[in-house]
Symmetry: C2
Subunit: 203 residues, 2 copies
């Protein structure tokens, strides 16, 4: 690409370093910002600088947070007895949308993946064990993606926690709402039959 | 969306103000930046601030430029006699890729569009007329999109320039390379037949 401006070229290179944004999209965004008369790029820059300088990880659950301790861990309305273990901050948001977790979270920050060189000590498992030892946790809900890496991580953690008196559960795997049975993979379909539950008529 | 962090929420709002980036993509980008350990968001912020503060429009052709006068207008290798009139800086880049323009450019910064409230004085037509009056321009090549608005703009400029002794040309409209005839719209196909050119065997 023949840029008429070094500054424009730098902006395009910076924007195209984001995942899913190629050179052409980056150029479109940069030209949009050049044309914009409301100082939009200044506002975006300010927000990104804050992201770099001010955002923290909660010292208890490792969720992203504006303070040392996140809103969920701070909340007195949350149960101390239930801990939902997730892979990422994105998963906390998705689960919070459901309103099904009355307890707190623990963000692993990844799953064990030998192929990518991620071992048990590269994710927040040690701090999870310490929480189980020191907090009044009764149930650990593993809300981890049912991938090979996810299953490995669940298995690994379950082994470490065998000696502790804590209920260890995983979220149900089964057919999705709105999904058609014939398109479900056989592993999921098989599991959904094995894990069948009594039917309750909602009145 | 239930954000656990105000800073994250602000970044998502800022990023989703960009065209083609929705809340979900913005969240994905923001979380990517939070995880990134190389200060990528700082680098992007710096590039965007430069874009806001330092980029200029060339005082001759209105193309985006790092200086008062753009590289193309500065270049002594460019012909003074040919002026290619385009809608946007993006079009200058696209045409420069072809290497077909040996002259200079004039960026209108839009086309006349009564529906969007863009009149002749909202785009750089006045300065174009002044250039025709004061520079040694022999040919004006209109490289404007063949839309209703583009055609209106070409017609309007052609009327203003009737009294000047300057060749007024438009880029050829016809079937695209690699396109199939049966899929070309009838206006384009009709025009391509009316504007047919002698066939030269390349040796």
């Amino acid at each position: 690409m023949n840029f008429s401006s070094k500054i424009l070229e730098e902006a395009v290179n910076a924007l195209s370093s984001l995942p899913g944004i190629g050179k052409k999209s980056a150029l479109r965004l940069a030209l949009h910002l050049v044309q914009d008369k409301t100082h939009k790029s200044e506002r975006i820059a300010a927000a990104l600088l804050k992201l770099d300088n001010e955002i923290k990880k909660c010292r208890f659950c490792h969720n992203i947070s504006d303070d040392e301790v996140c809103e969920i861990c701070k909340s007195p309305a949350r149960s101390n007895n239930i801990l939902c273990v997730v892979e990422s901050a994105r998963d906390v948001m998705a689960i919070e949308e459901t309103g099904q977790i009355k307890g707190r979270y623990h963000v692993l920050g990844g799953v064990i993946s030998p192929l990518e060189g991620i071992g048990p000590h590269d994710i927040n498992i040690d701090s999870l064990i310490r929480r189980v030892q020191n907090e009044a946790i009764e149930e650990l809900i593993m809300a981890i993606s049912p991938t090979i890496e996810g299953e490995t991580t669940i298995y690994y953690i379950s082994k470490l926690l065998k000696e502790y008196n804590v209920r260890f559960t995983i979220i149900a795997r089964g057919v999705s709402f709105g999904g058609e049975l014939e398109y479900a993979d056989e592993l999921t379909l098989g599991r959904s039959i094995a894990s069948r539950v009594p039917y309750h008529v909602h009145t």
